[in-house]
Amino acid sequence: MTVNYETHEHDVLIIGAGGAGLRAALEAIAQGARVGLVCKSLLGKAHTVMAEGGIAAAMANVDKADDWRTHFCDTMRGGKFLNNWRMAQLHAQEAPDRVRELEQWGALFDRTPTGDILQRAFGGHTFKRLCHVGDRTGLELIRTLQDRGVQLGIDVFMECTVTRLLKDGDRIAGAFGYWREQGRFVAFKAKSIVIATGGIGKAWRVTSNSWEYTADGMALAYEAGAELMDMEFVQFHPTGMVWPPGVQGLLVTEAVRGEGGILRNKLGERFMEKYDPKRMELSTRDVVARSIYTEVREGRGTEHGGAFLDISHKPAEYVKKKLPSMYHQFKELADVDITKGPMEVGPTCHYMMGGIRVEAETAASTVPGLFAAGEAAAGLHGSNRLGGNSLSDLLVFGRRAGKSAAEFANRSSATNLDFSQLAGAEREMLAPFERNDGEFPYAIHHDLQETMGNLVGIFRNEDDLKKALSQLDVLRPRLARVRIDGSRLFNPGWHLTRDLKNMLLISEAVTRSALARKESRGAHSRIDFPNYDPLWEKKNNIIVNEGGTMTLHERPVPEIPAELKQLLEEKK
């Protein structure tokens, strides 16, 4: 091997610099580890900034009766009991401390009249539980963690994409990637790695996700031998923008409904009375998304195929104060003044409940030295995530992953990088430049989004899912013949080509899992199997790479201990 790669060595390498990656990095540093943090974008631009509504934590600042037990029960009920109970318990117990810690690092939340952190109502949460900053909570969270990281001196590798995990025997040894700006290759040597790369929203056309959400971490982990779990559960947020076309899918925060927003169809009917008369607009996301979809399909949608969401009955100043970015977003992008009239909204692909299977306490995957947290990991949310539980997930399990990865690195010897693995990774990246015909990657991305949107959407059936699998079979060879124009210098077409490989792989995992689960539960709705099946409540679908073949197994859902089972009974 003659090529010398730029090489960096750390104890712990963290891939992804959203909330989970940053929180993991801070904790690994606190444990004394040398930490590297790699991210595809500039630092502080990760999708966490788009989280608007708040962080769910049972602080009981507003509703005194709240405690971790109720939060635990809400999370399990929202996930339709497919959740890993221990993750749901740890999450509910630790979230308040993680929020206080943010405040001690300089975050400024909205306040109650007595000067405490204010909490708002959200779908599926029994009490007012979401600590928030207007409708830009995610920005506050990421900026606070980022500033803390800068203060502690984390090594950050911005605009750098990892394309392969390297192994030393069974264990993780490092990673290979490229600098997006210059196109140079880079190798990272590490004793442990934390994956915090988010989800796969970009495989759907109507999505709230940015270009970064291409399932990178799930694909990297899968290729390194890790198990993926619950991949059939893709959350469609009920309220994305539907008009104009350029902003279709853009998130409209659940905080609009949390603050009293009302959903109506074109006939003026408050249709949630039909679907969930008790919780109405603040039902769980799976229910509200299906309700809006059904209204539109049955001909009661708005002009642009959505529902009306109205907050204009609240005083204009209150709306501007509590939902400032929604006010500007609609005013500037859709010519709608939300203090005067309704918004048009419809479901948008938003979040992946499934991901890398991890141990609850340690966030360890099934590959030694590989950890995962945040959206890239599975387990906490079961079949449907409650709004606000994502930011708290990032903090609670980001911290746990960072801690475990540092401990793992501490007790491990140095790893060796295998140059044949590096060379293989490099060859893969250079191959598209060797072709001077073929189609642009954007056309393939477009067709993937159509396939997933039309055939693996909110409502599914066997025929559609099988058709999706055969369309993915057609897309794969097309991707292998793609053409790249220009050089390696900041070349988005080249970047997309690599990202597409991850999206195709994980889209297949989603589709295969969806085909296997012959019931409807949470975010997975089968028209041909419309009911819950108690047998499926006991099983998680697992996807694993067996000798190059994607293989699906069932795995029993961990048994809930008696005292928590009793709690769930009591809080019914």
């Binding site: 400024l108 306040r111 803390r148 350029g246 853009l250 992008l333 990657p441 954007y442 077409g493 080249w494």
Partner: protein, 243 residues
């Protein structure tokens, strides 16, 4: 609908030229949509940064018809479409390729600013009115449009001795935090060169978050610097104490 012509800078740090692209218009289209259309159908290697497409991340900054803008928020129908729309990279930072510039200098400046440190034994209670004042600064999405338009950086290239509006906003957010116990006035005076700012308010005008950068951040910070370093009574007191 008709077409629009985008005149986009194509090149790298060794130079380049503006190239015209014809793009079909759609209702509500923004400049970033047009750039994506060029990538998808005409030039897949057109370099542009973007993330949220909702004016929340500050990645897609560029100069549209000579004016610093977020391209995700600049509606095509707000511009005259009978002539080409020029789209160029931010002028105050070196070009990497096309519309992507090297903004790493900002991250270096940021490292100079001491983080939030609570006063000893504070009680974690705050009044919403005190929080409001600081939350304005914390709205900043780091699009660096204010940095790009500031004369001290854009025309005089004082990057070595000046922090720029973005970091006065960050410093203000820390200095005015109700529970913060660190003073950053010496840093503002010496290393961030706040004295160079002659309050022309160009930064405030381009801020997509409508932060009153000059009035609410820079002027109060300048006053703190003056109070600490140039107040005659304090100066005399300092002289007498020999500090």
């Amino acid at each position: 609908m008709a077409d629009a012509i985008l005149r986009v800078f194509r090149g790298d740090n060794s130079g380049g030229k503006a190239v015209d692209y014809r793009v079909p218009l759609a209702p509500g289209m923004v400049i970033l949509d047009a750039l994506h259309s060029i990538q998808a159908h005409q030039s897949p290697d057109l370099a542009v940064r973007w993330n949220c497409k909702a004016a929340k991340c500050g990645s897609c900054s560029a100069e549209v018809n000579g004016r610093p803008r977020l391209t995700c928020k600049t509606r095509m129908d707000s511009l005259p479409l009978d002539e080409p729309i020029t789209v160029s990279p931010l002028k105050a930072f070196p070009v990497i390729k096309d519309l992507v510039t090297d903004v790493s200098w900002n991250y270096k400046v940021n490292k100079k600013i001491p983080a939030f440190q609570p006063r000893p034994n504070v009680e974690w209670k705050m009044d919403q009115r005190d929080v409001d004042r600081v939350q304005e600064f914390r709205k900043c999405i780091e699009c660096f449009l204010c940095q790009n338009v500031c004369h001290v950086l854009r025309d005089h290239a004082k990057h070595e001795s000046f922090g720029g509006p973005r970091f006065f906003v960050r410093a203000a957010g820390l200095e005015m935090h109700p529970l913060d116990g660190v003073s950053r006035t010496a840093l503002l005076k010496n290393e961030l060169g706040i004295g160079y700012c002659n309050i022309t308010k160009c930064c405030t005008e381009v801020c997509p978050e409508e932060i009153h950068i000059t009035d609410n951040a820079i002027i109060p910070l300048k006053e703190r610097v003056v109070d600490e370093f140039y107040d005659p009574v304090t100066m005399l007191f300092r002289k007498l104490r020999g500090t």
